[in-house]
Amino acid sequence: MSLIYPEPQAAPQYTLLCVPLELAPIVGGLFASLEPRTAWKTDQDWQKGYRAFVSLQDELMAGCLDKLIAELRAARGVRPEYTATPEADRTIGMYYSLGDLVTSSQNALLTSIFHVLDNGINGTFYANEFESNTAIRNQLADLIAIGNDQKTIQTNMFTDLESIDGKLT
């Protein structure tokens, strides 16, 4: 029986197959049986088929599912009380859930909003986050102090006006 390599789909679709590791040598052998030219109808079919089935043999050793699980667990993060548990012994519940992450993210956002307001209004210093030293309250206090000293304001105004007038002439 000679095989014709199927036309690829316009939008490639894939299926995930979990192969028990002990079966990998046998499944690999089945894939390898489609390497010879005699398995395919034409040279073009053969070349595509050869590449595809060697690639599948390669994937059998890729441990892709393990990597996927590891990536997901890394994204979720292990709960502090289970950090000492060996990774191989950890169960699903030892990692943060999606709900935990959403709540944590919302809390972080609210905390950040509070910090920016606190820094801007009160001048509270948040290292490596919000470090402005021009707090609105301090500036208001300065203005009020100046306002209480009309003479200073007037003196300063005359000085400034004379300076401007001098530059214009």
Binding site: M1, S2, L21, E22, A24, P25, I26, G28, G29, A32, S33, E35, R37, T38, K41, W46, Q47, Y50, R51, V54, S55, Q57, D58, L60, M61, A62, G63, D66
Partner: protein, 159 residues
């Protein structure tokens, strides 16, 4: 142990309308020069074709050596147990199969123990380097004339 050269073989491969294939073979004397043998094949092919209503799709020249005094194979040997060595990157991967893989080259610990070939072993590294980098000035290629790339994966297969 001695490798003795055998007759060259010219093999013509024919395919019928069902896609089934068969071959016609002729032997040439050991001393026949390769260029002479190839010229013979080119001239012989049409003579066979005119006697067949199948289509000749391939012509092979086989240069052969045979072991005349082979020692007994080890008790653990099994040619259905292959080592598959995969070379090259995505879209240009090529596989090479070694019959009756020596089980001592397999990893002995970890999840792939007994399945994956230990690529740190000197024998594996020497084998892989010869194919990936060339041997005696010759760079091997895959069936589609693409040079073999570095060894990416190697493991045991059962056929």
């Amino acid at each position: 142990m001695a490798l003795v050269q055998r007759t060259h073989i010219i093999r013509l491969r024919f395919v019928d309308n069902d896609g089934a294939q068969s071959t016609c073979e002729i032997n040439l004397a050991v001393g026949t020069a390769y260029a002479t043998a190839l010229a013979f094949a080119a001239a012989w092919r049409p003579l066979v074709e005119q006697l067949s209503d199948a289509v000749c799709i391939a012509s092979d020249l086989l240069i052969r050596w045979t072991e005349t005094n082979a020692p007994a194979s080890g008790s653990a040997s099994d040619v259905q147990r292959n080592g598959v060595f995969i070379f090259g990157a995505a879209l240009e991967m090529a596989a090479l199969h070694v019959p009756s893989l020596d089980l001592r080259v397999l990893e002995s610990t970890g999840p792939y123990a007994g399945i994956r070939i230990d690529q740190t072993r000197p024998s594996v590294q020497a084998f892989a380097a010869a194919l990936a980098n060339g041997l005696n000035g010759v760079q091997p290629c895959d069936p589609f004339a693409v040079d073999l790339g570095p060894l990416t994966r190697a493991y045991r297969e059962q056929v």
